[in-house]
Structure formats: structure tokens, C-alpha cells
């Protein structure tokens, strides 16, 4: 099938897609509603997907509502992200056994079936590509990460209903994905709901995607289907409320490290680290070595957060001892020094950090506040003073 061709299927076509992927040995991971949130779990049919579910997001606020809408993808993003598939929260790195003075190291082999991500959002794809630069694009690539990424099948679901916390348009990461080879996905779906039952415009992004698409059925996309997709994306972009000045934020934060706004946000921030957990690009992790009773040593790798006091520990104590310095580190890394370290922004505008912050800190508002008084420093010496 021609890579530039697009076609339209109905919901049954999506079920055929899931079947085709399962038959090829993929674990199909997609969105389901569990415990009041849209989370990623194994899905076997479109019955598992969040039909009729809508999310309402605001700073520190996330609610799901249900109605009889036949749409499967009329929600924005949940707290999880594809990060968990490629960079698990905790994993065994090696195991060492010793006998006498001989230490033998063994590494676990990664036997998990390759993953097919169903319904990845464009901002999430952008997040994966940011992590690719960190884990696969550096001097020392992570071979397990690379293997999982290369073997993964990605089915995008373009966004029609962004949340109020989304700002993908500012970061150039949504609400749709570009086509063509190298786009980073295998298939991209756009849910078209203009008439009755939803139909899905399918665009092909890779040879592998083309091969699987042959089993989906459907009919060639008509000009009005292409137009309908444009309308969905335009409507979504129009609904985006929040903005971030991505062109200037790198320099803005680099030159405002003493801005009084950091004191202000520090008085609200709990240093709980929720933002780092839900962020699709936060990658800080550490290693811990543990011993079992029989003397076997295991090294695990696990997610860490820069909000943790121990994150910056040197032998005399933490370098970033205050919430003030830790919040500043997180935001300046995400929006500014990430560019210096990896050549891109660390932020994809998904808004999760805003939604899942228990005190509702909104990074777009923090950046705007700093920009509004660019160059401000706390006034320490005031003239006048009393005469006593």
C-alpha cells in the first residue's frame, strides 16, 4: 500500500487492526478507564477503549464523565505516558552471586513481547522522541530502551478534544502528527464523528504500518474525509486555552535564575514530585544495590525525582536543599537547560504537570509571570530606613 495513501475504516476496522497486531505477537497496550482515570492497559478489542468518556482537566483537577457518545477518543490524556513502556519505573539491571572470591554477574534478558501502542497522542509521540535523544541518542545508548522502541508498533490517535491544561500548539507537538516517512509512527488515526457512528481516517507512517493496514479493510479516503480531519485538528487547536512562548522561554529562564517568582512558586510547591511522575519526558533515575539473605546482590534501576532531597546529595549534604532550588531546577531543566543537554526542549505541552499538581501550579502561568517582569530580582537593600 502506498505510504501516502490514506483510507477510512469503521470501528470494526480498528478491531481488525488489534487482531492483526495480536496475531503478529504484539502486546496491544491502549487506553482504558480504571479507577477514575484513563490509563494504559492491555486491550484486546475496541470494547476495552474509553467509549463515551470525556475528561475535564484544570490545575490540580481531573474528572471523567461518561455519556452515550459513541466516540472512543473524546478525551485528552491520562496521567500515564508511553515512558513506562520503554523506561520502566523499576527494572533489574544485573544479579551477582559470589562463591569464594569469584563474583559472577548475570544480566536478565528482555523476553517481553514487543508492544503495540494503541491511541498514542501526538504529544506523547513527541515525548517518546525527546526520550529517544536521552536514552538512544547519547554517547552511551541504552540497548534495552532502543530495542523496545525499535520493536514497538505505534498507532497514533490524533487529538480532537484537548483539555484546558493542554498547550501542545505552543510546543509544536499537536494536536495532529505530520505524515511521511520518519514521522515516528506506524499508523495514525483521526476519529471523524461528524455523522452518526465514528469513522477513522488512517494514515500510514511506515512500511510496517502499511503491511498491517492491509488487514484493516476500509475504503480509500475521499476528499471530504481529508477535509473532516482538517476540521477536527483545526477545531482542537482552536480549543487550546494555554500558551507558552516556546521560542523565548529557554533564554528567559536562563537569565532569570534569581527572579522573585521562584520564591513565590516555592511557597506553594510541596516538592511531592507528582509532576515528574506524570511527565512523559522526565527521565531522572538511579540505581540501588540490594543484598538478599543468601548473598545474592541485585542492582535495580528506578525512576527518581529531582524534587527528592536526596537527588542532589554530595557527601556533605544535598546541593539543592530547598524547595526553591528544586522547583527552579525542574522547570529550568525542562524548558531551558534541556536544550543545552539534548538539543531539544524537554516539554511537549501535554499539561499533565498542571493537572496532577496537588496545589495546581501551572507552568505556563509561572513562565508568563517571569516574562511579565523579565529581569526582576529580589530587592535586598532599600533606601530610607528608620533613624533609631
Amino acid at each position: 500500500m502506498d505510504l501516502s495513501a490514506s483510507f477510512v475504516v469503521d470501528r470494526a476496522g480498528l478491531d481488525r487492526l488489534l487482531g492483526a497486531l495480536t496475531a503478529r505477537g504484539y502486546r496491544t497496550i491502549g487506553p482504558v478507564v480504571r479507577d477514575g482515570a484513563v490509563v494504559q492497559r492491555q486491550v484486546s478489542s475496541t470494547d476495552d477503549l474509553p467509549q463515551g468518556w470525556h475528561d475535564e482537566q484544570a490545575p490540580g483537577h481531573y474528572r471523567l464523565h461518561h455519556d452515550d457518545d459513541p466516540s472512543l477518543f473524546a478525551w485528552a490524556v491520562g496521567p500515564g505516558s508511553p515512558k513506562s513502556e520503554f523506561y520502566p519505573a523499576r527494572s533489574l539491571v544485573w544479579r551477582a552471586t559470589s562463591s569464594g572470591h569469584v563474583v559472577t554477574l548475570e544480566q536478565p534478558t528482555d523476553n517481553a513481547a514487543p508492544v503495540a501502542l494503541i491511541g498514542t497522542r501526538p504529544c506523547e509521540l513527541a515525548g517518546m522522541r525527546v526520550l529517544d535523544r536521552v536514552f538512544a541518542g547519547g554517547e552511551v545508548p541504552d540497548p534495552h530502551y532502543s530495542e523496545r522502541r525499535e520493536s514497538s508498533f505505534v498507532v497514533i490517535a490524533e487529538c480532537g478534544t484537548p483539555a484546558s491544561t493542554c498547550f501542545c500548539t505552543s510546543m509544536g507537538t499537536g494536536p495532529g502528527v505530520d505524515g511521511g516517512a520518519g514521522a515516528g509512527y506506524d499508523l495514525a488515526l483521526t476519529e471523524l464523528t461528524s455523522s452518526g457512528e465514528p469513522r477513522y481516517l488512517v494514515r500510514i507512517g511506515s512500511e510496517r504500518g502499511a503491511e498491517v493496514a492491509e488487514e484493516m479493510g476500509g475504503s480509500q479516503a475521499a476528499p471530504q474525509d481529508i477535509a473532516a480531519r482538517d476540521a477536527v485538528l483545526e477545531g482542537a487547536a482552536h480549543r487550546i486555552e494555554r500558551k507558552l512562548d516556546a521560542a523565548n522561554v529557554r533564554q528567559l529562564l536562563a537569565s532569570n535564575l534569581a527572579h522573585p517568582r521562584w520564591d513565590d512558586v516555592a511557597s506553594r510547591c510541596l516538592a511531592c514530585g507528582n509532576c515528574t511522575l506524570v511527565c512523559p519526558t522526565c527521565f531522572c533515575g538511579g540505581v540501588t544495590d540490594t543484598t538478599t539473605v543468601d548473598g545474592t546482590v541485585e542492582r535495580h534501576r528506578q525512576w527518581n525525582s529531582c524534587f527528592d532531597l536526596a537527588h542532589s546529595l554530595v557527601h556533605t549534604g544535598p546541593v539543592r536543599a530547598t524547595t526553591w532550588s528544586r522547583y527552579r531546577q525542574w522547570l529550568t531543566h525542562k524548558l531551558s537547560t534541556w536544550h543545552d543537554q539534548f538539543g531539544t526542549s524537554g516539554c511537549v505541552g501535554c499539561g499533565r504537570c498542571i493537572t496532577w499538581c496537588p496545589v495546581g501550579i501551572d507552568i505556563t502561568a509561572e513562565v508568563a509571570a517571569i516574562a511579565a517582569s523579565d529581569g526582576a530580582v529580589p530587592v535586598s537593600i532599600e533606601s530610607g530606613g528608620d533613624r533609631s
Binding site: V93, W94, A96, S98, H101, V102, V103, L105, Q107, T109, D110, V134, F135, G138, E139, V140, D142, P143, H144, E147, L257, F283, C284, G285, G286, V287, T288, D289, T290, T291, G295, V297, R299, R301, N304, C306, H311, S312, L313, V314, H315, V319, R320, A321, T322, W324, S325, Q329, T332, H333, S336, T337, H339, D340, Q341
Partner: protein, 283 residues
Amino acid sequence: MLLTEVEPLSNPLTPATYRVVATRVETGDVVTLSLEPTSGPNPFLFKPGQFNMLTSFGVGEVAISISSAPGAPGPVEHTVRDVGAITHSLCTAAVGTVVGVRGPFGTDWGVDGLDDKDVVIVAGGIGLAPLRGAISYLVDKPGRTGRVYVLVGAREPDQITFPDDLKRWERDGAVVKVTVDVPDSRWWGAIGVVTTLLPTVDFDPARTVALICGPEIMMRFTVRGLVDLGVPLGAIRVSLERNMQCGIGWCGHCQLGPLLICRDGPVFDYSQALEKLISERER
């Protein structure tokens, strides 16, 4: 990166196994471990200024400077200061203990290109350890036209590390000066912070490269002292330290603003940008 066997999908967080073949107590809480691989090629290839991640099996892994000279025959030396659980177990490791080694990592002092330079080395406390290999390399390298100056600061006389090396370097042509903060009754050397030694040596600031390692306060003041004597900022190199967990740019712990100490450092060319970075509190 050294592994005893090459495996497909080998994880860069897996160390090679090395054996402790000798230990030497330098001062009260500083020990030098000599390590050899349990199997596989030797010598270990590195450049002075780089570090290894040493694993004490069952306790943890820590970044330790390589303190031997590159190309020196024999085992690779690592000088460890006992400041926590992992370093304590390394400092108390008996000969024969197997430890893990990953590395070498990081940028080096760049001693190769300094043949015609006066090299002023300023070391505070344990900061002499990452410089030791560089000094031996420079002192022993034939054909160098520049001089080598070694300025060492320690808290007390019995905390001076590598006293035999200091004497050896002086015998072999380096200018060596040592100062302490708190002398004892037998001390006849200089007293005061190491910056006070700078005006007492006759290096040529126009053709000097300075290598500095020690607590950051000491490095900041030493840089100022060198600049006051006419050494350009860019001719000064410092070794910085932060929380180091992976050494390979994955874990994010060693960040200092835009820099990753494991990848962009630990040795840095000094600059106004770097000075600004290390002057900021809690960065």
C-alpha cells in the same frame, strides 16, 4: 567501557569484575586501592582526570577518581575517602576482594597538549588524587619545555596525601610547595590557604595552564588568585563534582545547570559562564 565478556544487549550499568591486589592507607580516612581485572585485558586505558564507577557488591556504587598515571605498569589505582557506607566498605576492603568497575568516564585534564606550557597544579586536600596521574605524566614526559609547579593545601600536616610522590616529583624537576591551615610543632612549611603560595612561584602567566582540584570554595579563590596574577580565565581547568550515579548521562543526578558532570566534565575549562554557574547557590 570494559566488560569481561561482550554480550548482545549488554547493559552499560553492568560492571567488569576487578580484584583488590593492594591497599595503602594514605591518611586517616583516605585509602588507595590497586585493582586488576579478574580476567581479560590489562592495562586499563584512561586519561588523567577521568573517573571510574566502583561497585562494592551489596553496598552500592560510587564515582572514584583514577589516581595512577596512564600507561604506568601494574594495577589501576583509585584513591577513596571514607565519607559514607560505600566508600567505607571500599576503604576497608581486604586484598582479594572483588569489586565492580565501570569506566573510564568523563573529560580529562588534557595533559597531552601541554608540552610547552608552564603547568601550575593547585590541589586542596583529597583533590590531589585526580591530579596525581596528571602530575606524574607531566613530570616524566620527555621533551617538555615548560615547568611543572605543584601547590598543595591540606588541613594539617598528617592529612597531606601522597607525601612520597611530592618528594619524588620535586626530585624529578617539579617545583613543589605545600601549605597547611593548622601546623603542628614539627611543621616548617608554609601556613595558610593554598592561594598564598601563588605569588611565591615564578611561572609565566602568558604560557601557563592551571589545573585545580579541591573544595569549590578553594577553587573559586584559587581562580581569582591566578587571574590576579595574569593567567587568562580560559587557561584554567577545574574538576567539579556532583552526585554521580550512572556516569553515562542517563540518570540526571550530576546536572549542574546546562552541564552533565559525567559527560561534559568533571574537568572543565574555566570561563565566565562556568564561574557564574558555580557561584549560584543551590544550582
